[in-house]
Amino acid sequence: MTDYSKMSEDQFRQMVRDFISENLPPEMAARWKKMYHPYKPDVVWWTSKLNEVGWSVPGWPVEYGGPDWTIAQRHIFEEEVFLAGCPALSPQGLTLVGPVICHYGTPEQKDFHLPKIRSGEIMWAQGFSEPNAGSDLAALQCRAVRDGDEYVVNGQKIWTSEAHYSEWVFMLVRTSTEGKKQAGISFLLIDLDTPGITIRPIISIDGGHELNEVFFEDVRVPASNLVGEENKGWTYAKELLAEERTFSAEVKRHKGQLRRIKNIARETKIRGRPLIEDPHFQRRLAQLEIEVLAHEATLWRVVAEEEAGILGAAPTPSILKVRGTELVQRLGALMIEALEEAGLPYYAEHDYFLTEPADPPGRPDAYGVSSDFMFRRSLTIYGGSNEVQRNIIAGQLLRN
């Protein structure tokens, strides 16, 4: 196995770039750069491609196939694959439930699930949020009642990304109503083909389909699909989120957006002059680029501190999430504005992702811009809304 620890950051980056240029088909990169929703065939193919060199699971322990990258190397990898237009790996299996199974799964769970997650053969959805448990996730009510060797699950999950083409879902379910609400939650793995499960699409304001509602009616799940101990699920879920504490910074997306804004502004001509040459536009772009520079430097600080084993008292994951997501939205707003009227047509994903209609309106560099802009309103809502993040930040500050 390659010893990545001996590599400089530049060498590592070059290695990733070389791999991408050898393996990523240009037409796939072109469609992913439009920034529509994930497209399963591409995702599965790219996951298996990465798995061949052990790169599909950068965050996993070495004994389960992780490449033992540093946190800095993981960020470099993420940035390079994103900017090159590689298909976005589905995080639910690879970065969320995978590490949980590595740490808490039974030998049978590990043997069955981990290879299939690594290779992309099985895709996962995350069943956490419910209609009445969003920001207040621990209020979840989807019940799992033990009945012999099985759990019987009843309830509803919502905002379930990619459930419509996933094979499995990992769930937080209520197994007890006694004590604190966090203490009665368990972590359960469910095959989405099990009878009693209904998946309904939620179409988002971009016209796309990534989100779903999932209904469970007397769904019988083998008790062997429980992860770890009953009523300890909240702890596992928290650890799972803590593992990924620096990966919600979105710096790779900001860099891609800045690049795309500049490309668009070179093409947009206002009264005959490229928008990119307009001093007022340049200043607004400069302002955002400066914000990204500062934000990226915060990410570097946090990564360096993590690698040195310093976990400061500061609520850094929340800072990265709040600023990172808000910058994505501000950059998206400048991008759509830079398109002028060419940004207005509805470039529907089903018409523009794989193909292009005859005689399309607007311009090709506009495809996907408004869709992405619309869908990214969700960034400041999911994963703990930015208001909840601010509560967390202030709570830590005022306690110290």
């Binding site: 600023r323 930040i393 500050l397």
Partner: protein, 353 residues
């Protein structure tokens, strides 16, 4: 990601020493000249000077660590102006002079900024003409922080061949119009009217640009210190002040404001590290990063200072209470070198398009 983040052991020592000095000495009533002697004794003026020129062989990181602590205590003595801007300029153009600055014997200040410069280091209207064996300068240099303390000024001026030269004018040989800035720091204008001057370099622009980039970043570090105290005061106030029968820190509107202040403070701290990294690498992005640093810290400082006052309520606008003093110095920082708006424009002119 190769940016240096964690301080060395030596830098931690400097930081602790500077913090102690600010706590014990800064408010002791000693005048600026006495304070300057202490800076020299503590070695703070020589941190960035190479060993063979009598210095401690460090770099601008060490300056930044000290400047941040001085900022926390709103120390008015022109540490950055002398130990960074003037020292870097001399190291580039007259390195043999650095030792006398390090010892505190000489206190040169850079006189470069002119009204209407807009943050562009190459816009110099002061003129230099040859007079016999020497030179004489005409023009006005403005807003020189710490001017009353200076023993001499390092003055940029345009020479007859159109280049920007660097000259030295002794403080007692020139007219210095002394005044206070609105943050109460002593400052002054250097009013030159065929004033005799000594030539240091006849082609100094790139050295001036480097020294000013250092000033942008280290002054930003100082401003982060100013901001940190404003933030700490505000946080403590939210934890002590009661209204409507509860601590005001229990109101969510104020909690969220505090969270936003903290985010801005941390972004400012990060961008300073990035600016320092750019100075040490001295690559093609150096000036752009220095400008970005100044912009981000200035805007963050404005926000943190202003919200610090707002969250204090009435006491925040009183002379008696310190949070407003921090706001004043942050606004002064924002307004220097053409103001943050001009620096955004400067960044835009250097940005990769």
């Amino acid at each position: 990601m190769g940016m240096k983040v964690l301080p060395t052991e030596e830098q931690v020592m400097f930081r602790d020493a500077a913090a102690r000095w600010v706590e014990q000495e800064a408010g002791s009533g000693a005048d600026m000249a006495a304070q300057w002697g202490q800076f020299a004794e503590l070695g703070w003026l020589m941190v960035a000077i190479p060993e063979d020129q009598g210095g401690l062989d460090g770099n601008v990181y060490d300056n930044a660590i000290i400047a941040e602590e001085l900022g926390k205590g709103l120390v008015a003595a022109p540490y950055v102006g002398v130990a960074v801007t003037a020292t870097q300029l001399l190291l580039a153009l007259a390195p043999e002079r650095a030792e006398a600055v390090a010892s505190g014997e000489e206190i040169p200040l850079v006189a470069h900024v002119e009204a209407g410069q807009g943050g562009d280091p190459s816009w110099v209207e002061t003129t230099a003409t040859q007079a016999g064996d020497g030179w004489s300068l005409t023009g006005t240099k403005t807003a020189i922080i710490g001017a009353p303390l200076a023993t001499s000024f390092l003055v940029s001026a345009r020479t007859p061949d159109g280049k920007i030269g660097l000259f030295e004018v002794a403080a007692d040989a020139a007219k210095v119009r002394e005044y206070l800035l609105f943050d109460m720091r002593p400052a002054g204008d250097l009013v030159l009217d065929a004033t005799p001057a000594t030539l240091i370099s006849s082609d100094a622009l790139s050295a001036i640009e480097f020294a000013l980039d250092c000033e942008h970043v280290v002054e930003s570090a100082e401003a982060v210190g100013v901001m940190q105290t404003a933030f700490d005061l505000t946080k403590d106030y939210l934890n002590t002040r009661q209204q409507y029968g509860q601590l005001i820190g229990q109101f969510q509107a104020l909690q969220h404001r505090l969270a936003d202040m903290f985010i801005e403070l941390e972004q400012a701290r990060s961008v300073v590290l990035r600016g320092l990294d750019a100075l040490v690498r001295n690559g093609p992005d150096r000036s752009a990063m220095a400008a970005a640093c100044r912009v981000k810290v200035a805007q963050a400082g404005h926000f943190v200072g202003a919200q610090g006052i707002q969250l204090h309520g009435g006491i925040g606008v009183t002379e008696e209470y310190p949070v407003g003093h921090h706001f004043r110095q942050l606004i002064a920082f924002e307004m220097r070198h053409g103001g943050a708006g001009a620096q955004v424009e400067r960044y835009a002119s250097m940005m990769e398009l």
